[in-house]
Symmetry: D3
Subunit: 229 residues, 6 copies
């Protein structure tokens, strides 16, 4: 048994069910995270390079070393249409691991987005290309190609555990990971959660208070809330 997974590329991974991914793509990150029980979020420092993007796809993971993007070329070969690359780094580093050439390659392979716990560059060009990236930062700093990492091993990316094949959903609110085994269940729960949101929204828009709609007055009073003039 190996003490680490470095220098390994796993070719055959089990991707989450396509129907579940498609269904999850209809919901926002906040909704899915709530539907799962408030778990699965990456840290909020992960921000999109342009606003308005909303994607869902299956995770292909890559583990990189600070200042070294060699494995980005290795991961490209493992991509299938509908995949999202999730890149973790073995230590904090904000160099620009990814730019327009790699994006061209990823897009050609059918990738939908990159999620990277580090920096990216060519963001003007990436925006024009419409290839969304959620990253820790933007930096023009170039990287080297000297050290082996791994592809399709479990990684921790921006505080979230990600296994190859998990569903990644990302929008302007951030990034959430849905384990492949519960993708359908999470999609159903998200749908259920949204089902009566329209009704709630209509009530609130009509001036009904959440205090009444959610029946909070009694528990608040019980907790000791006092109104004074």
């Amino acid at each position: 048994m190996s003490m680490n997974n470095l220098g390994i590329v796993k070719r055959n991974i089990v991707r989450a069910d396509k129907a579940a991914v498609d269904k999850l793509s209809r919901f926002g990150v906040a909704t899915i995270h709530e539907a799962m029980g408030r778990v699965g979020l990456m840290k909020p420092y992960m921000r999109p390079i342009y606003s308005g993007a909303h994607i869902a796809g299956t995770a292909v993971t890559v583990l990189l070393h600070p200042g070294d993007n060699w494995m980005m070329h290795v991961v490209a070969e493992q991509l299938q249409p509908g995949d999202v690359v999730v890149a973790a780094i073995t230590a904090d580093n904000c160099d620009g691991f990814f730019g327009d050439l790699l994006a061209t390659s990823f897009m050609a392979r059918g990738a939908r987005a990159l999620i990277i716990d580090a920096g990216v560059r060519d963001v003007g060009e990436l925006t024009k290309m419409g290839f969304p990236v959620w990253s820790k930062g933007i930096s023009a700093k170039g990287t080297i190609k000297a050290t082996l990492g791994s592809v399709n091993i479990p990684v921790v990316c921006a505080g979230a555990q990600v296994n190859p094949g998990d569903v990644v959903v990302a929008d302007d609110d951030g990034v959430v990971i849905v384990p492949a085994a519960v993708a359908q269940q999470a999609a159903d729960a998200a749908e259920a959660r949204e089902a009566n949101e329209g009704e709630k929204r209509a009530k609130l828009a009509a001036g009904v208070l959440g205090l009444d709609m959610y029946k909070m007055r009694e528990p608040l009073e019980k907790a000791g809330l006092k109104y004074i003039d």
Copy 2:
């Protein structure tokens, strides 16, 4: 006398004079802050979720606990048209305390904006709705409803002291608080400050130097400035 103001909702607050608020709404945050003597700013980490918003209104304050947005529903009931909710947290926390449903409710009550020293979510939707928020961050992380905070007590939000009824002005430069008692005075001072800005701008655009327009050459020389070739 209570050692703290927790668990209290003050219903009747004295809001700053409407005319003063309206007048203040014509000026930018930087101008008002300067007109008041360079005071009243929140920390610069408070950023708008979309650019171009510029609001002024009267503060309705709420004190929340980390990860708990229960009082957001309580504060909704206290809102009047023209109010701005100012939300402080008892400790640093960037969870998403506010989203599109609460925004719907706040808008229905006539609120103009939310200023929150924490995170918000549904920012794509909030942008479409045109409900501006200045916050410490964006996060999809959900919150619970378990602990009492307070409404309309004095709070410290992003480093600024805010009393209920104070004027809040916010734009792309940040957020400034104008105490209700000096709102008219601040508005007048802001107006006076801007009065001759047009003239100054015209001169500078024509190539006149600030060195000459502000008569700085003599004090600079006196301070010891040396020109060398």
Copy 3:
């Protein structure tokens, strides 16, 4: 010999060759930084106040003190068309050293941009004016005019050494400094670097892998990369 360069304005500086600056303006920050051997970048916290700006010009430097923008008026007089102001601060400070009036003056003198390791304000107005600024942050906080700094001395700005007359290139990826003496060489190297990018991009878009295009399979195998199923 002076122990410091405070209180000095150097009037005659040698600006980088105009043709080299023009040529450099055709390339992105990442490309130039790579072409120079991965040097010259400012820290990635330097961000543009609006996206899409891309400028190149000759550095006129200014050294400021925390909370004091007096020298901004002094530097204005030293500007020539095509210059970019590079402002360093003697200690970390994010106050708003620069706003629309100074921008009007800088534009009237022909300046192309401001690069400042501190805060700026009036960013809404600056965006409308089309005067780009790369800064550490945005803050409405006003500054005083009390202490001498210097103009056109060598400075360290956001981690980069900048000499007066050096070329500054900035875009959505950040800011790079090209020493005047190697400006032409860097421009040529950037051109060479981009020469075959189109071809590479076409190949990658057609599905060719970087693994093959860059002939990485052998060195990866030699390094010990293992493929598993």
Copy 4:
């Protein structure tokens, strides 16, 4: 009415009752903060320059500007034995506003500590002198003496509202502010809180679980906690 309190030194302030301060000095910051209902803490970035110090005293406040410590000399004159200087800054700044000479002066006036939302220097010397400082950071950067701030006005320091005369308690856990009007009440509450801590500690040390001592098993089960093997 003034729009700000700049340029003012208030000489006569009402200090919290000495007996209450003395009693509060027997308790730690965490205990007092809990006893007050979990309020009054400064941000946790406020750290002591050496460990083991534990002080209580009456606040004499000073408002400073970034990079300017002029008012530190003004505040010295207002100090009485048992006071603690609480220094707020109008914007984020970590310069070294305070060193061994000022500490000598403060000690001669009977001050017990400095709490400053900025930097200090000469920390080696201050440690030898036994003059404790809680600060945002340590920096050798010198400051100027050019701009008026104020003494003994209400300030926001590290996120806490501080009025002149309030009680300041500080130890290795941080800094808490007790409003003068509730000082005795807070001291009594802290005493009550600690009264049965010895008994609790003995039980826990003997192996009794908090689950049983605090009778948490039922509420946990009610909340849905499941034990699995």
Copy 5:
């Protein structure tokens, strides 16, 4: 299958082999991390509350919510002599989740340390008690007891994946996690790594250069290193 592991306490976990833990306790965090192939480290923001502590033990994990330490009492019951509590939080939060009473309880159960991706308090007392904590920060801020988390589920703590029963080693350099399954292998590798360190140290102390001892001159020259005078 559950979408999350919230509200669960796993009682029976497989702890790493005691002999392997004991052997690992002889080595520093840096050595073990290197021996494993440079993996397993927590983020470097995890710092000990006092210097000089060096512990190894088996992980008992707990997942907490921001501002809520209820599960700390639940985890106490699951502790066995030689365990180390590893506490993860569902979102960034630096409140003081742990103090001297809980430490008394943990010590009574035989716990060797706490590793927590949040804040602690009573650090003066904890230091006197000799109960080491590695944490993200120090804060007196109290927490509530309202929401269920979990005990002995896999968690991500400070960027590291931790499974119940894994080995935790911590010293002044930080914290490393050794999966239970490779504990013996890692201990052997650490031992092998240290075996010839004494010899190396003696050579270096005698003035032999790493350049020669590690035979780096040739690869450096090959890489293009140039010596100039």
Copy 6:
């Protein structure tokens, strides 16, 4: 002319005059920084790994890449007794570039300290050895040996420009760089500055106010300071 200085080791550098270094070693960082006109400081995030160290020496510089400490072995050979290694990194990175073995080598060569804009490890051992390090952080994360940097080229370290041979002075307040050419002048100025500090300290200790000793009352009144009761 080269566009960068990468891959170069300069062997013969002109070190600052030994007598000047010795004299500077008698003064603290704050005093020297003031004596030079408030210039030369590194950023305050540079902290000693243990308190109480106070060193002065001549800078031998090294430029490293993120996650790569190869050049640390190259710089060791260039060290002479009395030198201080100043290590800059081409991008932000906090890995542990330096530990006890390298420290053994540096000490054997007569080096007095390491100043590094990155992380170090083995800090417990380094403390026992008495080899002081001022760094950006502490991290056990190991580095590789793959990319050429340079030795004895001008570098920017933690915001300060450092040329080989410059004087480095460091203590608990931070790190200051004195250019070799003004070392004697700075030492004399520091001496002059300290000359009458004893007298000042005695006066302040006797209760004389800085207001009177520095004759500040008149300028404060002129600036508009008002005393109220």
